[in-house]
Assembly symmetry: C2
Homo-oligomer: 389 residues x 2
């Protein structure tokens, strides 16, 4: 038996404890929790077959009370002794997609991002469309192409506008969108909307999400039914799911929503956002620090909106926040905004760049205040661009 | 042992044999095939556990050669003797959602429909947007709210445009979209696009699909990311999956695609559409006869487009054709078009109507030419509107 070592100041301390799916030494994928620089094998220390599953879905489906109890049990275990063989160095394990994705929806919840995109695409009009401050705009994405961090991303090919009609070829404007993703643990049947105040009962945790975007494909295809192939080739998420229970100390007031006031179904008793700091690193150089606390629409409002029309929600539903951008130039979560539509290159390692080149590598990290004055990390979501096939 | 009785002229004869999931007499849901007015329990007559599953996915995942062999085996069985207890009268069984839906995508493949919608929403502009004849426009819908025929549909509530900003309430413009849905049996890994010529290797079958649509919710929300809550509350499909193998005799040339010619990845060696006749019945009165043969984009082109950017496809992926509308007034597959935006009511049982009222009932049927000079039926997809909650 051993006491898991947690280095002082670790962002993976007892107040974080994110869940993931890992395999080690030829074993099958199973649930683990990250503790310091180790992964604790939950299937070895907790007597419940849900932790031997290849995704967190069976555990998430057990519901809120179980999430609270399991977290307390794990916190108790790791301050005492655990079997040495249940601990694996994080460098020795393979991390898998932590959830089986049911439906994937992506929002557009940052006012700074939506305004920047509006200014770029409709320079002579109001940057925000009339509906934007009344409802959290979103579209459904492709659940089957949500991948775990570390997967290489093959440059997508598709149609883009040419001088004499569309041309086909590899995307020339391949971009990222730095986002958070929220994972539904227990859903709701049809015709039973989830109130924003019931968020914590339904949402299990959060991940960092990179919504890879081919801007040239998207610009040509997106009217009138929205983005499709410009996004559907790949979405990457971080392997560690930070429990909502760990984010209590990250709650901050929402920045806006006074003019207009949201409609009643979107009102929260105590509206809250999350004080999460992201960093986007391009080929090893930090290029942006998107602040989640600046988001206009809250995670609870997004889920309430998704279900208000009677749509059910399921265990494993994933919804992204949309690109996180702050008011400052270095707080923008996409290269479309950082390079202002490709017009003002960013200098990366001495080289001017606008969109992604082959072999470029992107890493997005995130951290937040946790309990007892500590901080917690979301780990990272990374990916490298491979040439088009 | 008995020989299944097939009434003369039955649209469920030996050249149709659609697959479904049924339960009878308190038994668990399992796979069956419709023969005349009976359902043959495949789990009782074929020695393969895939037919005891609660969805067709495990059978579909076995692939094209298996689909061919199983069909021949079933055709052989039903012309000889089968155990009497393996046959259930269709009126005595409960029909379930036949597939576990992976990703659901809805296209917009009818030129007549897209032109009608363009004329209604942008009366002073070209009816078709510039991309429409170059790519099959589509969006991802909500897989978790695809329901089997017969389910009541609760009128959705949501935001719609008001005189002084948006108002919230039950949809006042609840509509249908009469479509076909295509079901992927065996998918493709990432970065391995499916050529249009390989359609039959991947697509298992087709169903009738009703994409219920709240036009007022959709009109307010859809810019710039496309439809979301106006569609996500419910999509209904027929319980019987007609095998693509049964539709060989329904193939017809595509009506257009000369100006412009599609880009090479969308070209088929022998471009084909399907000569399927639909009928929309509103409270018992037939109101429209949408002709599938008029569709601009083919089923094979839609699948090729979905995967050309490197997106994978999975067993259980469902894609809809979009509303099927022909050139004539009585061939339009939505009430938006039939009532010309609500301006010219349709008379149903003596009453002028535009969109759906509470307790209205919609049934969509479809039939097509089959082998040996016979015809086949898709059965129907039906649903009744319940008042908003």
């Amino acid at each position: 038996m051993t006491v898991p070592d947690i280095p002082p100041g670790s962002l993976f301390g007892v107040d974080n404890l994110p869940y993931g799916i890992f395999s080690a030494g030829g074993g099958t994928p199973r649930a683990g929790v990250r503790v310091g620089e180790h992964v604790l094998d939950l299937s070895a220390v907790l007597d419940d077959p849900v932790f031997a599953a290849g995704s967190l879905n069976p555990f998430m489906a057990q519901g809120y009370d179980r999430w609270v109890a399991a977290r307390a049990q794990i916190q108790d275990l790791i301050t005492g002794d655990v079997p040495a063989e249940a601990l694996h160095a994080v460098d020795d394990v393979t991390l898998h997609l932590p959830i089986e994705v049911a439906d994937y929806v992506d929002f557009y919840a940052s006012e700074h991002h939506a305004s920047n995109v509006g200014r770029l695409f409709r320079p002579d009009a109001e940057p925000l469309l009339p509906n934007w401050k009344h409802l959290p705009v979103a579209y459904h994405g492709r659940a089957g192409t949500v991948y775990v961090s570390g997967r290489d991303i093959v440059r997508p090919s598709g149609q883009r506008k040419g001088e004499n009609g569309p041309v086909f070829g590899p995307s020339q404007r391949l971009d990222i969108e730095a986002e958070l993703g929220f994972i539904v643990g227990t859903g709701t049947p049809a015709n039973t909307p989830i109130s924003p105040d019931d968020f914590a009962q339904h949402v299990f945790g959060a991940v960092i999400l990179n919504d890879w975007s081919a801007r040239d494909i998207q610009a040509w295809e997106y009217v009138p039914l929205g983005p499709n192939l410009g996004k559907s080739f790949a979405t990457s998420i971080s392997p560690w799911v930070v429990p909502i229970l760990a984010l209590e100390n990250a709650r901050v007031p929402l920045p806006g929503q006074t003019t207009p006031k949201p409609l009643p179904y979107l009102r929260e008793t105590d509206p809250w956002g999350l004080n999460i700091d992201l960093t986007v690193t391009w080929n090893g150089q930090p290029v942006a620090h998107p602040p989640y606390r600046e988001m206009y629409w809250s995670p609870a409002q997004m889920l309430a909106h998704l279900t208000i029309n009677g749509a059910s929600a399921r265990t494993g539903d994933l919804y992204g926040s949309g690109t996180i951008s702050g008011p400052n130039q270095d707080q923008r979560g996409s290269f479309l905004e950082l390079s202002w539509g490709g017009k003002t290159p960013i200098t990366i390692n001495g080289k001017p760049k606008t969109f992604l080149d082959d072999n470029d590598e992107i890493t997005i990290t995130a951290s937040a205040p946790a309990a007892n004055g500590s901080r917690l990390s979301f780990g990272d979501v990374s990916g490298r661009i491979l040439p088009a096939r």
